[in-house]
């Protein structure tokens, strides 16, 4: 699961690019944004946040208009890693299983899509057998076979040609990398992967070397989509993926626009998930966030595809004038500071606790953008959107409670227990490309000074993270005692979020994400137990337990459970956010109130 870090970085890079785009633009703001009827049709503030807004008003037909400030990394189902691409790809791709089209936490659960059921598990969780539905077709009307599914999954192995996407499937099915990918496959049918059997066109069998309780979650990612061999254009596939879903590519100009039209071969009877309300879906790629925010506010576009939230200017206008069009969902991201145990005195738990108690958590929240744009004060390290996450209910250090403005007395007690009664000096490492990051570093610096901890702020280029904070030897050499970072899950489970951060097996010499260098046998054991457990309730319980162990170690100072502020036009119906895609709107079943 080493690509977890890639994901974090990519999502961060996307957000950074959006911020930069916002900074570079100096377009005039304000005025001319009151388009009259927009208020009357709006569903209300947070009306689509974890619930469905205006489902009864949806009409079939019309053109659904997306805008984004950045194109997808790739529309190839094997190569895409941006969260919004995964969300959008369900328009033109189907998987054996997919996420439920339900709001909030329910949406993070998987449900059969191409498969008739959730699969038969045998051999102690090592074998999964699926049967394909009848009536599933490609855009040219030919049926989708189990071999197409196998070939689509095999493409994940061809990382030399199709780089960029998540590789969980490869790591779970063939962790040793014995298969070299379909393009180097000597077999005539290029279906040499031994971990998958296709006894007939309707049946597909997966053989895992070791059980993994999140295998179904990973199958539901778009990298598990079928691809037909005769339509595979390898590295160019992202320009025109061959559709298995209700819509197909009509035209695509990279960096400019994308138009999807109905796939007439798709049969609603074969698809229990997708409703396919609009006739046409357009995606315009704008380079100017201020401009695209303004046009979303005006109602020229229906929804922001990148779902990174409105920029600072757009946020103010929208909150003041179009609040009923806004949703403020919790994203899967947590913003936090982490204490590498290799840097003295953070090898001592009391010094780590001293920092947690000294910090002014309200000030850190304000630095992140306040309760709406920043998020709720973070009290623990498991996102509320992940199964087993408890949100602010679990607050072992009273971060959002009694100590929310910092508790100097407790901090000084911990400093004494740590053997540093007069405080100490340390360095805060922070990425320089985002103003909120530096603002949190300054807030922490000011709060620590009050208890005698003198922190110097070390700013570095965010794109260099893997070699700077991701290198434990560099962290120790530069004495980076406090690292400010953020993290979000690839798939909404404790494995998809926490393994790279907390497992001793994931301490790397470069590109490390276990910054605290946590080597805790209990935590490692709990992760092993998790991957062997198939029962969902038990899985959630283990997730909670892992989170508690991490918090008890005081390795992290959480800042916020991050929130986005997203806008939906008044034309939209059947809108809801889903935890499957970090609080994004579920694109696939969006509809319009009027077909005009």
């Amino acid at each position: 699961m080493t690509t977890q870090r890639t994901s974090g970085r990519r999502k961060q890079a996307l957000a950074a690019a959006a911020v930069v785009a916002g900074l570079l633009t100096t377009a005039a703001c304000g005025g001319g944004n009151d388009s009259g009827d927009s208020k009357s049709g709006a569903a209300g503030f947070n009306a689509a946040n974890n619930k469905v807004a205006q489902a009864d008003q949806v009409k079939k037909g019309g053109t659904l208009k997306f805008v984004t400030t950045q194109d997808a990394d790739s529309w190839d189902t094997t190569r895409g890693y941006y969260g919004f691409m995964w969300d959008f790809a369900r328009y033109y791709s189907r998987q054996l299983l997919t996420y439920k089209t339900e709001p909030g936490a329910e949406g993070a659960k998987v449900t059969p899509d191409l498969a008739t059921d959730m699969g038969k598990v045998s051999d102690g969780g090592k074998t999964y057998t699926f049967t394909l539905r009848d009536g599933i077709t490609w855009e040219d009307g030919k049926p989708i076979t189990s071999k197409d599914v196998k070939y689509g999954i095999e493409r994940v192995w061809a990382q030399d040609v199709l780089s960029g996407g998540p590789i969980y499937l490869q790591q779970m099915l063939d962790p040793k990398g014995t298969y070299k990918g379909p393009y180097k496959d000597k077999a005539a049918d290029h279906l040499g992967l031994k971990a998958i059997d296709t006894p007939d066109d309707k049946t597909i069998v997966f053989h895992l070397p070791t059980p993994n309780s999140d295998f179904l979650q990973v199958l539901a990612m778009v990298s598990g989509s079928p691809v037909r061999q005769d339509k595979d254009t390898k590295s160019k596939y992202g320009l025109h993926p061959f559709s298995s879903g209700p819509y197909k590519f009509q035209s695509y100009s990279p960096g400019k626009n994308l138009v999807l039209v109905r796939n007439t071969s798709w049969k609603a009877s074969s698809d229990p998930v997708r409703k396919a309300y609009p006739d046409k879906i357009t995606l315009d790629i704008s380079t100017n966030q201020v401009d695209s925010d303004q046009r979303l506010i005006n109602g020229d576009y229906d929804v922001d595809a990148s779902q990174t939230g409105l920029g600072p200017q757009g946020r103010q206008i929208a909150l003041k004038q179009h609040k009923a069009n806004l949703d403020n969902p919790v994203s899967g991201f947590i913003r936090y500071a982490v204490f590498p145990q290799s840097v003295k005195p953070f090898d001592n738990i009391h010094c780590r606790k001293a920092v947690i108690y000294a910090a002014d958590h309200v000030s850190l929240q304000t630095a992140r953008g306040g309760p709406i744009a920043g998020g709720d004060i973070g009290t623990n390290m498991l996102p509320p959107s992940v199964a087993g996450g408890e949100g602010q209910k679990y607050d072992p250090y009273q971060i959002a409670g009694a100590n929310k403005n910092g508790n100097a007395d407790l901090a000084k007690q911990e400093l004494k227990a740590c053997g540093q009664p007069n405080g100490f000096s340390t360095t805060i490492a922070v990425r320089n490309n985002k103003s909120q990051e530096v603002a949190t570093a300054q807030s922490l610096q000011a709060a620590l000074k009050k208890v005698g901890i003198n922190a110097d702020i070390y700013q570095y280029d965010g794109s260099q993270s893997p070699g700077i904070i991701g290198s434990p030897s560099n962290v120790a050499k530069k004495k980076l005692g406090i690292i400010i970072m953020g993290w979000g899950p690839d798939f909404p489970t404790v494995q998809g979020y926490g393994i790279p951060l907390w497992s001793s097996k994931y301490i790397l010499q470069s590109g490390n994400n276990n910054y605290a260098l946590i080597k805790d046998k209990t935590i490692d054991g709990l992760f092993d137990q998790y991957t062997q457990t198939l029962d969902e309730a038990k899985k959630a319980q283990i997730s909670t337990e892992i989170n508690h162990k991490v918090m008890e170690g005081a390795y992290y100072l959480p800042f916020t459970f991050e929130k986005f502020l997203n806008i939906r036009s008044s034309r939209l119906a059947n809108v809801y956010t889903t935890d499957a895609y970090s609080g994004y709107y579920d694109f696939v079943n969006l509809g319009l109130k009027s077909t005009k």
Partner: protein, 335 residues
């Protein structure tokens, strides 16, 4: 031979009668009326330059007394006042960026730090870097320029080519690169101390060719003068001629270029801090304030206006004063 204050350009067509007397009469005729006095006399009549000079003095006093001033108004530059911030937008709740009796120039967005106190402390950094880097440049430029002009030959060639090279060097990029690889502590300095030290050295180092060229040019023309020849024929040594005969005549252009260089250096420091390679947080600096104000240009324009005006006033004051000094020392220049 102690006062051979022939300003080289003063020989031709002086504008006022007493100036003519200076230029044409012998040394004895102008006893007690040194160039400095004459220049002061002219400067006193230049109201704009005097205003500039007064503002510069006030700025220096503010910078020196920063802790006293902030104590008087009861504000610390690094104290957070988040009760004055609207948590929804991060902007100050009060009008005009939160200007009030307590916060004379308002507070910063997000953290509510007092802008007045930060401007006052920011003056320290701006003036410190501006002055000291000018001193570095003047010392290097004068010594190397005078050597190049006086000795000529290969010494001149080497120094002149070095100056050409430095003038062509992308100094801003170089400083950015240098600051980012600087260790966090050196020579007993840490954090902001290191950054300030490096900025002074580097800005000064890249500034000396501007003075060096002028000094070299003046030296070239001065060394052929009769009084230098006279000294030489009387057996004066090289260093006597360099420092007793030539240097006093170079004082005027050096002063002029120094007053012109300080505002440029202040702007360079602001640019570096703006780009995030200047002083480290939480140390206040005008450039850094401008940089963080970009996010709020629409919602809290005062935050951008205040440091912008501070930089504007400072640079303008130095420039006006510098212009006045130049005019006073150089009567040939148009006034």
């Amino acid at each position: 031979m102690t006062a051979p204050l022939h300003e080289p350009t003063a020989e031709a067509a002086p504008s006022a009668a007493d100036e003519a007397a200076v230029a044409t009469a012998g040394v004895k005729a102008v006893q007690g009326r040194s160039l400095g006095r004459i220049a002061w006399g002219r400067l006193k009549r230049d109201k704009l330059a005097l205003t500039g000079g007064v503002v510069v003095l006030v700025l220096i006093v503010i910078a020196l007394l920063a802790p006293v001033i902030t104590n008087l108004v009861g504000q610390d530059p690094n104290d957070y006042h988040e009760n004055l911030i609207d948590p929804l937008f991060g902007t100050p709740t009060g009008s005009l960026g939160g200007i009030s009796g307590d916060h004379l120039l308002g507070v910063e967005p997000v953290n509510g730090r007092d802008i007045f106190a930060r401007i006052v402390y920011g003056a320290q950094i701006s003036l410190l870097v501006g002055f000291l880097s000018a001193v570095v440049a003047v010392i290097l430029g004068t010594v190397l320029g005078i050597l190049a002009g006086f000795f000529g030959g290969w010494v001149d060639s080497v120094i002149s080519r070095v100056m050409d090279g430095l003038l062509a060097f992308p100094q801003l990029l170089f400083i950015i690169a240098l600051v980012s690889v600087m260790p966090n502590s050196m020579l007993g300095l840490t954090g902001t101390g290191v950054r300030v030290f490096v900025m002074i050295l580097v800005i000064g180092f890249f500034g000396w060719p501007y003075i060096g060229r002028v000094v070299r040019g003046q030296t070239l023309s001065l060394r052929e003068r009769e009084y230098v020849e006279a000294a030489r024929s009387l057996g004066a040594g090289r260093f006597y001629i360099l420092f007793k005969e030539l240097l006093p005549n170079l004082v005027a252009p050096i002063i002029v270029y120094t007053t012109m260089m300080i505002p440029t250096n202040i702007l360079t420091e602001a640019a570096l801090s703006f780009l995030g390679v200047g002083v480290k947080p939480p140390t206040a600096s005008w450039g850094q304030m401008l940089s963080s104000a970009i996010d709020y240009y629409d919602s809290d324009p005062m935050y951008m206006v205040v440091p912008g005006v501070a930089i504007f006033i400072t640079v303008l004051a130095f420039n006006l004063f510098g212009d006045g000094v130049r005019d006073a020392l150089d009567p040939k220049g148009s006034r």
